[in-house]
């Protein structure tokens, strides 16, 4: 049976990719994978609804980490999707028989090992399958402390759900890591890409402008729709804090990446930027705390207070990205 070194991470996709690379001999930390693929973002897209709520994201869409990393480091990943579920299961079995652990995309709802309250119809969860024992697949799910198991029927079901972000049985693994580029060249490009996206995207609901856009939206919420407003606020906090964010909408994960980069590039300014994003993350957490208190009825529902807090976060993040853009000229 294949030995696979299971490590719990904060985020599923960066965790699964880091685990697969490590298994193939390229040891990158989860924050490094996350940062190199420029996965940090802020996006608020009211036109796209999920469960009646506007799409809100603190990181780039699923798949970005794998694609972003292969672009930055010149690592080739092999991707396979399937029309028929049986074909997808057969291909997975073939890889496992060869002793190749593979990354899979699956729906959280149909994975049997997820706690009941965590099961929602999110179809872009990532995990690594590394073996089979009877009817059970041996799974290294990056968001769990220990390796887990799923039976054949359940795993096939969750790999072939239909709908938004349908996995279509996606299997992936790194093909060739021998050409991996040097981190010292890749890191500045990745950082600049994130800072540009957050400050210079010409759309009002992306990046720092997006945070301010949502702040304005908060102030304009009509007190008459209290039930919907509360759901919206809860939704914002859920996207920010639920399993797989590393806390504070991925900001700590990003700060950790900056700190690691400061060491690799021997650049004190990156360490300063890491401090800045840590502080921004702490303010995101304060937003979550205020919101939770209001939802619980322990403090008065105050849309202006939430908006003010969002603006504070936006200001701190803006300063942070400006620090990162200034690195180039230095």
């Amino acid at each position: 049976m294949t030995d696979f070194n299971h490590q719990q991470t904060a985020h599923c996709e960066s965790g699964a990719v880091a685990a697969l690379l490590r298994h193939n001999g390229l040891d990158l930390s989860e924050p490094m994978v996350f940062g190199l693929s420029s996965a940090l973002t802020y996006a608020y897209i009211p036109l796209v609804k999920m469960g009646g709520m506007p799409l809100l994201a603190y990181r780039m869409p699923p798949g970005r980490i794998i694609r972003g990393l292969s672009k930055r480091l010149g690592i080739r990943f092999h991707f396979e999707r399937f029309r028929r579920p049986e074909d997808g299961t057969a291909a997975l079995n073939k890889y496992l028989e060869q002793g190749t652990p593979v990354g899979l995309q699956a729906s959280v709802y149909w994975l049997p090992y997820f706690p009941e309250n965590m099961r929602f119809h999110f179809n872009a969860h990532n995990l690594v399958a590394y073996g089979k024992d009877g009817d059970d697949y041996l799974i290294s799910d990056p968001t769990f402390e220990q390796p887990v198991r799923a039976d054949t029927a359940a795993l096939q079901r969750s790999r072939f759900v239909k709908g938004m972000l349908a996995p279509k049985g996606l299997i992936y693994y790194p093909e060739d890591i021998s050409q991996a580029k040097d981190l010292t060249a890749a890191i500045p490009v990745a950082i600049r890409s994130t800072a540009n996206m957050m400050l210079r995207t010409p759309l009002p609901f992306i990046g720092v402008r997006g945070i301010r856009h949502v702040a304005r939206h908060m102030e304009k919420l009509s007190p008459a729709n209290e039930h919907y407003n509360k759901l919206l606020i809860g939704h914002m906090v859920r996207m920010q804090e639920e399993i797989g964010t590393g806390g504070a909408g991925f900001r700590f994960l990003f700060a950790s990446f900056l700190q690691e980069s400061a060491g690799i590039l021997s650049d004190e300014r990156l360490a300063k930027a890491a401090d800045q994003f840590t502080d921004a993350g702490d303010e995101w957490r304060r937003f979550a705390l205020y919101a939770a208190k209001m939802l619980k009825g322990r403090s008065e529902l105050d849309y202006d207070k939430l908006a003010t807090q969002l603006r504070k976060v936006a200001d701190m993040e803006q300063e942070g990205y400006q620090m990162l853009l200034a690195l180039k000229s230095g």
């Binding site: 991470t9 079901r157 509360k230 939704h235 859920r238 939770a292 619980k296």
Partner: protein
């Protein structure tokens, strides 16, 4: 976030699991720590789960009053809405909406019913009835 601030609020939703978070040690160096949950996160998670539970309870009443087909109950019990159920079955949303009325649901062909059975992972018998009240069916 400092290591001391990593929340340990023993979230019920985690069912004893812990999640890994990034935090800074006393020297300001980033490391990871296990968290048993955060109360603020619990509040919003409970809110989302309770919203589906409320829809499920209301749907049960409508089914009992003959206003809705059991499909509406099962849809919410599976934490779906019309959009998600339509995507999962390949029906249009207006079709799903029609199927939520008892008169249309009762005349559905076995082939169409099968698409619901598959998407919800239920037997034909389960799909056509409400589960007993004391055993809320969540999957």
């Amino acid at each position: 976030m400092k290591l001391d601030d990593v929340p340990q609020d023993k979230s019920r939703s985690f069912e004893g699991q812990k999640k890994r978070l990034y935090a800074r040690d006393e020297n300001g160096e980033y490391t990871t720590a296990l968290s048993s949950g955060w109360e603020a996160e619990d509040v919003v998670l409970d809110q989302a789960v309770e919203e589906y539970n409320r829809f499920t309870r209301e749907a049960r009443q409508r089914v009992q009053q003959g206003l809705s087909s059991p499909l509406e109950y099962h849809m919410y019990a599976h934490r779906m809405d019309i959009t998600v159920l339509a995507q999962a079955t390949g029906f249009f949303r207006w079709q799903v909406r029609r199927h939520l009325t008892p008169a249309v649901f009762n005349l559905l062909t076995p082939r169409k019913l099968q698409r619901y059975e598959e998407a919800l992972q239920m037997t034909p018998g389960q799909l056509r009835t409400l589960p007993p009240e004391d055993e809320p069916q969540n999957d």
